[in-house]
C-alpha cells in the first residue's frame, strides 16, 4: 500500500503519487485464511453436500476467490477509485453521452427499502407504489416523446433499439410482409447497424448531405418496398437537427416502412420538439443520459421505448395496465407481443432515479435543461471558433448546433502535426475529460463535444482556454502533446499488445 520509490530532491518529480503506486489486484492481496465474511450460525440440523449431492455434482475444490480482511477490501477499492476520473470531480464533455449532474437525491430515494428490497415477483397488489411509479414515468416519457405507448423494459439504449427493430419486424410480419433492409445514415451510432444485423435485417447506409443532414436523393433512391425501417438520430450525431425531417418521414412512410428515433440525443429537444410530432413510430430513451441515471463507469442504464398506436400491439410483455378501480397490474398475455427482452420488468432502480428527476424538474425544468444544454454547446462552440482555434479545429458542419457539436481535427493534424488523439490526451493533463473522438466516422479526426446544461460558464471558458493553450503549445513543440498525458495514474497504454496477446484475468 505504500509507494516507496525515492522521490527527487527539490520539487522536480519523476512521478506523481498515483503513478508511483503499482497496480495490484485484489487477488494479489490478502493471505490464506483471512476473511471478511462471518457466516451466520447453522441453526438447523447439520447436513453437508456430501450427504445430499453425489460426488459428480459437487465442486471438488473451492474457487480461488480472494482471502482478505474487510479493512483490506475497503482500502483496496477506495484507493482504486482514486485512479478514476469522474463527473463529480470534473468536466466531462463526452459527445453523445450527456454527462449531466447526477443528483444525490436520486440515490437516496432509490435506496429506500420499499424500492430497493422489493422482490420483482411481489404480487402487483403489494407493489402498487412501484407500478404507479412506472405508470407515471411511462406517461411522462410518452408526453416528452409525443408517442402514446411506452415500455420501460429494455436495459439500455441498444436494447431499446433491438426492441424497436423487432417491433418493426413484427409489425410487417403481422401485415404479411417480409422486408429485408433497414436504412441508417453513415453518421449513425454503431449500435444502430449492429442492432439491425442482430434483428436479422440487412443494413443499408444513407449518405449525408453537405449540411450534415440526410441526402434526400440517396434516401429516395434506396427507399423501396423492401425497406422495413429507417433508424435516425435527430439531432444527429453531428448535433444538427435535420431540417428535412418532415419530408424524410413522408418518404419512409410512403414505402410503408417505420421510422425509428434513436433517443440518445433527446437532451437537445425536451419540451421543444417531439419525435412523435416529427413522424417517428418508435423511440428509445437513454435514462442514463437525458434523465441522469448515473452511468456507473459503463452501466447500469435503461432504454425504455415509446411507440405509436400501430406499433403498440407488439410491445414486449409484461405491460402495466390500470384497472377500473384505479389499481395497477401487469399484463402478460398479449398475443401479438414480441415477447420478453429480459427478466422481470426492467431496471426499476433506474426508473426511480429518472422519475425523481422528472418530478424535480417538471415541464419547465426539462425545457430549461434542453435550452441550457443547447446554449452551453453553442457558447462553447463560439469560444472554440475564436482566433487561434478555429483555423485548426473548424466546425465540421453547419454554423450553430443543438446540444453538441463536432469539430474536425484535420487542419490541426496537417498544420500542427497533432492528431485528435494527441489533443485528447493532452487535455487529461489539464484536468478535463476529453470529448468523444473519431466519431462520427465521416468527419476527419472528429472531436465531438457535449457540455450539457449543468456546467457553468466558467467551466466552459476554462475548457476553451485549455484547448487554445494546447494548440499554442503544439505550435511551439508538438512533441509535448504527442507524448501526453504525463500526470495521469498511467500514461499511454499499449492497446495493440493488449489485443494481440489478451490477458483478461489475473493468473493465479
Amino acid at each position: 500500500m505504500s509507494a516507496a520509490a525515492a522521490p527527487p530532491s527539490g520539487s522536480q518529480l519523476s512521478e506523481t503519487p498515483l503513478q508511483r503506486e503499482p497496480a495490484v489486484t485484489i487477488f494479489e492481496r490478502g493471505a490464506p485464511g483471512r476473511r471478511a465474511f462471518q457466516c451466520p450460525a447453522l441453526d438447523v440440523p447439520a447436513v453437508y453436500p456430501t450427504e445430499l449431492l453425489p460426488a459428480h455434482l459437487r465442486r471438488a475444490a473451492p474457487p480461488a476467490l480472494p482471502e482478505i480482511s474487510e479493512p483490506e477490501i475497503v482500502r483496496h477499492y477506495v484507493r482504486l477509485s482514486k485512479r478514476n476520473f469522474d463527473l463529480d470531480s470534473g468536466f466531462y464533455p463526452l459527445g453523445s453521452c450527456t454527462m449531466k449532474h447526477n443528483p444525490r437525491l436520486h440515490e437516496r430515494v432509490a435506496a429506500l427499502p420499499g424500492h430497493a428490497r422489493l422482490h420483482p415477483l411481489q404480487d402487483p397488489a403489494r407493489a402498487q407504489g412501484a407500478l404507479e411509479l412506472m405508470w407515471n414515468l411511462q406517461g411522462a416519457l410518452a408526453e416528452v416523446s409525443g408517442l402514446p405507448h411506452v415500455c420501460l423494459q429494455p436495459s439500455a439504449g441498444s436494447h431499446g433499439e433491438l426492441a424497436g427493430v423487432l417491433l418493426t419486424r413484427a409489425y410487417h410480419e403481422d401485415r404479411g410482409e417480409t422486408r429485408h433492409k433497414v436504412l441508417t445514415p453513415d453518421t449513425s451510432h454503431g449500435t444502430n447497424p449492429a442492432t439491425v444485423t442482430m434483428a436479422g435485417f440487412e443494413v443499408v447506409a444513407l449518405a449525408t448531405n453537405p449540411d450534415g443532414g440526410i441526402d434526400l436523393d440517396d434516401l429516395r433512391a434506396k427507399a423501396d418496398g423492401d425497406v422495413a425501417c429507417l433508424m435516425l438520430t435527430n439531432p444527429n450525431t453531428l448535433g444538427l437537427f435535420d431540417p428535412n425531417i418532415v419530408e424524410i418521414a413522408e418518404i419512409v412512410h410512403g414505402v410503408g416502412a417505420t421510422l425509428y428515433y434513436d433517443g440518445a440525443n433527446l437532451n437537445a429537444v425536451m419540451g421543444l420538439s417531439r419525435p412523435g410530432d416529427m413522424g417517428f413510430d418508435i423511440v428509445h430513451f437513454n435514462l442514463h443520459k437525458s434523465f441522469t441515471q448515473p452511468h456507473g463507469g459503463g452501466g447500469p442504464g435503461s432504454g425504455p421505448i415509446a411507440v405509436s398506436e400501430r406499433i403498440a400491439p407488439y410491445l414486449p410483455v409484461p405491460v402495466i395496465v390500470r384497472r377500473e378501480d384505479g389499481s395497477f397490474d401487469l399484463d402478460e398475455d398479449r398475443f401479438k407481443s414480441i415477447g420478453r427482452l429480459r427478466g422481470f420488468q426492467g431496471n426499476y432502480g433506474c426508473f426511480v432515479r429518472s422519475y425523481a428527476y422528472i418530478c424535480s424538474l417538471g415541464a419547465e425544468g426539462l425545457k430549461d435543461a434542453s435550452e441550457t444544454a443547447v446554449l452551453n454547446a453553442n457558447y462553447l462552440l463560439a469560444r472554440l471558433q475564436q482566433a487561434g482555434v478555429a483555423e485548426y479545429l473548424p466546425l465540421a458542419y453547419g454554423k450553430l448546433c443543438l446540444h453538441e457539436f463536432v469539430l474536425s481535427g484535420g487542419p490541426m493534424k496537417r498544420e500542427l502535426g497533432l492528431k485528435t488523439l494527441d489533443l485528447a490526451k493532452r487535455l487529461l493533463d489539464h484536468g478535463f475529460h476529453p470529448p468523444t473522438v473519431y466519431f462520427p466516422l465521416l468527419v476527419e479526426e472528429a472531436l465531438m463535444v457535449e457540455p450539457t446544461e449543468t456546467e457553468t460558464r466558467e467551466t466552459l471558458d476554462a475548457f476553451a482556454a485549455a484547448i487554445a493553450a494546447i494548440l499554442r503549445e503544439a505550435a511551439e513543440d508538438p512533441e509535448i502533446a504527442r507524448n501526453a498525458p504525463y500526470t495521469t495514474p498511467v500514461r499511454r497504454l499499449d492497446e495493440v499488445a493488449a489485443a494481440k496477446h489478451p490477458v483478461i484475468r489475473q493468473a493465479l
Binding site: A111, C359, L375
Partner: protein
Amino acid sequence: MSRYTATTPADLQAMLDAIGVGSVQEIFERQIPEPVRLGRSLELPPGMPEQDVYEHLRALAARNVSAEDELCFLGAGMYDHYVPALVDMLMERSEFLTPYTPYQPEISQGGLQVMFEYQTAICELTALPVSNASVYEGPSAVASAGYMARLHNGRSRFVVSAGLHPHSIATLRTYAHGFGVEVVEVPLREGVTDPDAWAGAIDEDVSAVFFAQPNFYGAVEDAAALSALATAACEKPPVVIAQVDPLTLGILAPPGDCGVDVAVGEGQSLGNRLDFGGPSFGFFAAREEFLRRMPGRIAGETRDVDGRRGFVLTLQTREQHIRRAKATSNICTSQALNALAGVVYLSWLGRRGIVELGELVLARTHYARQALTALDGVEALHPISQPVVREFALRLDADVGAVRERCAAHGVNPGADLFALTGRAEDRGGLLVAITERRTRADIDRLTDILGAAVASERQEQAVGA
C-alpha cells in the same frame, strides 16, 4: 435556471453575445422547422423542491411490501441475500458511480482494473477461461449466448431444456425469432431435463443447447451428462450453454468442469439488491475459442509507455462502435457498477465464505423442504430424492393464489406461484420456495406454521364449498 443549472441573467447575456444571437429561442428557431417545434409546454406536473420529491417517493415506497416488511421466500431468479455495507459505500463513491464507460484508459484505471478483477472472479467461479465485463442480466445473457452460437456455427435450431427460467426461454425466443433461429423445448422428467428427449432433439442443425443449473424448479441437473449427451449426439456437436446460479458454485460442480462451452447467468445474488428486478448484471463466461466472438466489454492487461502495469478495453474489434453491422453484439452500456458490486461481494465472501454460505443455505433448504413437505396438503412437486440446494418446488392441494393471500395476511410471502410463471399444466398448484442466509430456522418454522394453516383453512373452505 433550475437548481441543477447555473446560467444567471448576466451569464445568459454574455453567452448570447458570444454566440451572436438575440435569444435561446432564436438558436432553436434557426435550426428546427416550425411545424415540428412544440408550441406548448409539456403536460407534466410542475417541478418540486428536493424535500417534496423525497416525500413523494417515500410515499410510493411505503405502498410496496418489500423484503424488509414481510417474511419473504420469493426467489425464482432473484434472491433476498444480505448485501454488506461496504458494497453500498463503494458503489456510492463518485469515482465509481459517475464516470462513463472507460474510453480514456489513462484516467479510468480504477474501473478497468475492477473489470479485470471481476472477469477473474467469474472465471474462477465458472472454471472457464474467459469472461466479459458484464451483460445486462440473466435471461438476455442466455439470448446473447444463443446469438454468439449462431455467429459461431450458423445453424438454425436451438434446443432448450424446460428447466431453463421461463424468462430466459421467452427472451431467447424473442431474440432468436429476429435472427431466424427456431427454438425447440425439451421437457423435464421427474424435475430434471429428460435425457432421452434431450439427446433425441439434437442433430447437426442444432446451433446450441441450453440448460440451467440448478434448474428453474430448484433441482440440480446432471450437467456433465447433459453436456456429454449433446456432444455425443452428432458429428458436429452444438454449443453447450448453461445458465448457472453463481451463488451455488461454492458447492456445485462448476460448468467448466462439466463440459459446458458457455456459462451465463443472473448476477443479482452477488451483492446486488432486489430493486424490483434490476439493475443487476448478467455474467458471460466461455471457452477460449469464443473469446473473439464474446459480446460486451472486455478489460485486458497491458503496459504504459513507462512500463507501468495498466488495463484497457480490449478486443474492441468485436464491438459495435468499430465493427458496426458486423459486430458480435450491439451491446454498449452494460452493467459495470453492478459487476463492481459483484466482485466486491465475492471478495468479501472469499474463498471459504462462498462454500460456507452454500452449505448453510443447503442445510436450511433441506430443513425447510422436509418441514414443508410434512404438512398436510403439501408435497414435493418432484421426487424428494431430487437434490436441491437453495430453492425447491412444492405442490399444494389448494388454490395457490388463495393460499398466498392468506399467508400475506400474516406477513409471510411463501414463495412464487409456479403456474403463473410457466403456464405449464403440470405446474398447477406449484409453489417455488427460496431460502437464503437471511431466512433463519425461526423464519422457516414460521413459514411452516403459516403455510400449514393457510392450506388447511383453504382446503376446509373448498370442502365446504363443494
